[in-house]
Subunit: 235 residues, 2 copies
């Protein structure tokens, strides 16, 4: 049975890395003593070691050990044997490119569908959707495909931002960008605000956290859903 947390962000304003989620994660990862960390997204270009240390420091607070996948000779085997998986944020293009390079998409999909708990934040959440077409990241490298794992039958837009009515900037709003996405693609998009996450258990998908989420369906006006709403039928 799938057991997944798809979080908008690792860090909310005024708190430490993963702090807002730690109580939830202590329960979520209760059967795991060690978490396999995939640091490929390299936020700010930091190394895999540096990023793994950062994740370790957070998980130490709930007595979990963290091992970076880059320290294994055989990363596919590392995924198959993992008690739990955490894919951190950073740049989605870099993450997806490295996952393709190491041929890890199939392995991750298989173990997660068979019950290995999976936590994704930001880029690590984007890849749970059908494609990475709704990432906010800069395309600093070119992955062979934008297709991602598809653990849920829609796309994720993490760090969802409402239009700023006072802005004088002429770059597109997030809503405009997702509208443009729907000129070429038909799957729904879940705009997850910072501090929100989706809890996936088997076929059930529930919005968690304090905020509403914004749902974009093809050829429909976007709408808000409240925390604890089921998105199990969204597709």
């Amino acid at each position: 049975m799938k057991n997944i947390i798809i979080a908008s962000t690792s860090t909310i304003h005024g708190s430490e890395y993963l702090e807002y989620l730690l109580d939830e994660l202590a329960v979520f990862f209760k059967k795991a003593s060690t978490i396999l960390f995939i640091p490929y997204a390299r936020p700010s270009g930091i190394t895999h070691d540096e990023y793994t240390l950062k994740a370790s420091e957070a998980f130490n607070k709930i007595d979990k050990k963290v091992i970076g996948i880059h320290t294994f000779k055989n990363p596919i085997e590392a995924i198959e044997k993992a008690e739990a998986i955490f894919v951190g944020g950073g740049n989605t293009f870099v993450l997806v490119n490295q996952l393709y390079k190491n041929k890890l998409f199939t392995a991750i999909k298989e173990v997660v569908e068979n019950g290995t708990p999976y936590l994704g934040t930001s880029a690590g959440s984007n890849i749970c959707g059908l494609t990475m077409n709704t990432t906010n990241d800069m395309p600093i490298v070119q992955p062979p495909s934008f297709k991602t794992i598809g653990l849920v039958p829609f796309n994720i837009n993490p760090h969802y931002l409402d239009p700023d009515p006072n802005s004088t900037h002429k770059g597109e709003t997030r809503e405009t960008r997702i509208k443009e996405f729907h000129a070429y693609n038909s799957q729904p998009v879940v705009g997850l605000r910072e501090g929100s996450w989706l809890a996936v258990k088997g076929n059930t998908i529930i919005l968690k956290g304090e905020h509403t989420a914004r749902i974009f369906k093809h050829n429909q006006e976007p709408f808000e859903v409240k925390p604890e709403t089921s998105l199990s039928d969204l597709k």
Copy 2:
């Protein structure tokens, strides 16, 4: 001799489409009565016809006729015969994908290097750089390559935005994104603020408009350059 305007944006706050540039464009396009418009970037998903109408309305004010490239049977021939070219903004992925589909990169490069005046705004400016890796746009479609025309020997980041010191949002700042770009790529990036443009004449590249631009070189601290600075040696 190359004759190019690479503009950060088509529209600045509080003014009409292209209005801030019209005096400049009347001089820039003085030998052309008709401008070939490439509407492929489709801002907000509008049609090629709708977008061409919008460009027409602006250029009518300086007595120029605008024809959309989508109305030609043979778009390569349309480029070869054009008196002047304007590539409008929108989504860079959509623009680049369509340019590859219609095999237009070589034709544009050839005519522009031979003197056909070229105006780019936003996405139309991104493609003047070496690659589209520093676009701000959402990757809503997947082009076959991120390589672009390379009319200048660096990359462009249009709509450049300074970090907002009051923001509580955890998405990456523009500077962080470009720093991440430089973990994988070595060419410089010119961060062009809205209202700025690069005037390229032959081998001379000058920053124009009221604002400074931010220059990002590989393994160096970013720095500001003032209007009228030459970027001819930047590579």
